[in-house]
């Protein structure tokens, strides 16, 4: 589902945990960002953030239940790109995730996805009950 005007591209899709479908979706978003002249650095950050949000949805949200979907909605303009990633899980408290950058947590293999999203995107917020993340990348002003 998508609508494109010359100054805006909006749409939504439901993804199953299937790598080819996720890769195709990422390529599609990257194409839209490229057409709106987002920098390579911005596209790198958006791709990583989407990957982290989608994978969190499948693993922590849907608990790897193959019958459940992750839905992504996007709205991209020449100035900014907004994404909503929703899973079918019960949600979680993002503040309860330990800070992975503390020395005592460096050797823990998981828990870095949310901090990467918060670093690469201009804004990121979880909506209650925590199964819906909204994240936005805004181009820096020239």
């Amino acid at each position: 589902m998508a609508s494109t005007q010359s100054d805006r591209d909006e749409g939504s899709t439901r993804l199953a945990e299937e790598s080819k479908a996720i890769e195709a979706f990422q390529r599609r978003i990257d194409g839209i960002l490229t057409s709106f002249e987002f920098s390579e650095q911005a596209r790198f950050g958006v791709r990583l953030s989407l990957e982290e949000a989608i994978m969190n949805g499948f693993h922590h949200g849907n608990q790897r239940d193959p019958a459940k979907w992750v839905e992504v909605r996007w709205a991209i303009s020449p100035e900014e790109a907004t994404f909503h990633v929703l899973d079918e899980g019960e949600g979680f408290d993002p503040e309860a995730v330990p800070d992975p950058t503390l020395d005592e947590n460096l050797e823990i293999p998981s828990g870095r996805g949310i901090m990467l999203i918060r670093t690469y995107m201009t804004e990121a917020m979880y909506h209650s009950p925590g199964n819906h993340i909204e994240m936005r990348y805004r181009k820096p002003r020239r």
């Binding site: 790598s19 890769e23 790198f44 990583l48 990957e51 992975p100 460096l106 870095r112 990467l116």
Partner: protein, 121 residues
């Protein structure tokens, strides 16, 4: 059942295990699990494991891939070995810096530089 094609290339360079990735994107969960098990097998066969992971050609990597590298590092340390990284693009190195994992690993510009002095700390 046919096994999936290997996600890494492993070569012996003067007693150092050099590992290269076959994919430019290390994002897919199934691929990362496979990389983890291939690396674990190779490390467990070496004593002590001296491992160079070369990131030439790698364009994207997720937190799950970072997790695998952390696990592999712990295993290598446990077995008294050493792990070094080389040829990391600046955008990927940034991911290591943001997560502070740059403190955990040793980075070299080129594989040749990384291979020098392996085993001497």
């Amino acid at each position: 059942m046919a096994s999936a094609p290997s996600r890494i290339r492993v070569a012996d360079v003067n007693g150092v295990m050099r590992v290269d990735f076959t994919d430019s994107d290390i994002l897919d969960e199934a691929a990362i699990r496979q990389i983890n098990s291939e690396l674990t097998r190779a490390i467990e066969a070496a004593s002590p494991p001296r491992v160079l992971i070369c990131f030439a050609g790698v364009e994207h990597l997720s937190s799950a891939a970072l997790g695998t590298l952390v696990t592999v590092n712990s295993l290598i340390k446990k077995r008294g070995g050493q792990l070094r990284f080389s040829n990391i693009k600046p955008s990927i190195f940034e991911v290591f810096k943001i997560t502070k994992l740059s403190k955990l690993f040793q980075f070299f510009d080129t594989a040749e530089q990384a291979l020098q002095g392996f085993g001497r700390g």
